[in-house]
């Protein structure tokens, strides 16, 4: 069986945690998994709410190491960008331009964000399982961003497991 992997998102001032999210849809609300995204549009020149995301490991394993996160597919439309930051602490997500997620998210495994655990040795998650630190992302636009849906994006989380 090995490790069981979970995507997780946190929202709201009280930090409501939703494990096992099924998408990372960027919308005009601080809520997880909103769909269809067309019902939660982002006005050109504004931003989606920040996404505070983690991954979580349960099940049977010895170690999880070498954790990486990047945008692996999906083309931006004009003046669209996704900013990111790794290994953050939780803060209430905002839709103003993020002061946390400030770097364009990497698009290759070689430049991927290195993700830490919350254990004493942050390079690994050991047999008791647990969450990683927070990955913060935000979709940003400008007044030049055309109306209509953006292209689908794919994000990848990679790790080594024993």
């Amino acid at each position: 069986m090995g490790a069981t992997f979970h995507w997780s998102e946190s929202n709201h001032i009280a930090e409501d945690v939703t494990d096992d999210i099924v998408n990372l849809n960027f919308v005009n609300e601080d809520n997880p998994q909103k769909t269809p995204v067309s019902s939660y549009p982002i006005t050109a020149g504004e931003n989606a709410y920040e996404k505070y995301m983690r991954t979580k490991f349960t099940g049977t394993f010895t170690e999880i190491t070498n954790m990486k996160f990047w945008k692996s597919a999906g083309v931006y439309v004009t003046a669209e960008d996704i900013k990111a930051a790794a290994n953050q602490s939780y803060a209430t997500p905002v839709s103003t331009t993020s002061v946390i997620a400030t770097v364009t998210i990497p698009i290759t495994v070689g430049t991927a964000l290195a993700i830490q655990s919350t254990e004493g040795d942050t390079s690994k998650i050991t047999i008791n399982g647990g969450y990683t630190k927070y990955i913060v992302t935000q979709l940003q636009t400008s007044i030049s961003t055309p109306a209509g849906p953006v292209n689908q994006k794919t994000f990848t989380f990679q790790y080594d497991e024993t």
Partner: protein
């Protein structure tokens, strides 16, 4: 939630003939149980049950076999005086999408060994994908 579907299961055999399987009647064993006794490890194998393919590492000789056939590219001249150390891990990728649902998972199995001599640390590793194909 993604419970990774493991196609290849590991099995270890030690110098005293004892065998340890990743899965047995008692459930799933931790890889840590192999590492804790690595000094006594003789063989470490990955078994692709569905296709009846077994990738076996002879740790002492540093030879990897596929169903008892030796992989020449992964071989060095056997050196019984060299202290080889097992390398095994799974590299797992999970995908998630925006503006639509994407939910793919892939696993590559890494099997090999390393040793240290006057020239430094050396590694010999093969990669096996989820269909039992080898990348050398």
């Amino acid at each position: 939630m993604s419970t990774t579907d493991l196609k290849l299961h590991w099995t270890a055999q030690f110098n005293n003939g004892e065998q340890l399987h990743q899965f047995d009647a008692g459930g799933e064993h931790l890889f840590k149980e192999v590492i804790d006794k690595q000094n006594y490890l003789k063989y470490f194998a990955l078994y692709y049950i569905e296709k009846d393919i077994k990738f076996t590492l002879d740790l002492k000789l540093g030879i990897i076999y596929i169903n008892k056939q030796q992989i020449p590219e992964a071989e060095l001249l056997p050196n019984v005086n060299r202290k080889n150390r097992l390398i095994y891990f799974r590299r797992v990728k999970h995908e998630i999408g925006s503006s639509g649902q994407i939910f793919n998972t892939s696993i590559i199995y890494f099997l090999g060994y390393q040793w240290t001599d006057n020239a430094g640390n050396h590694k010999k590793i093969i990669q096996i994908d989820g269909e039992g194909n080898i990348i050398i």
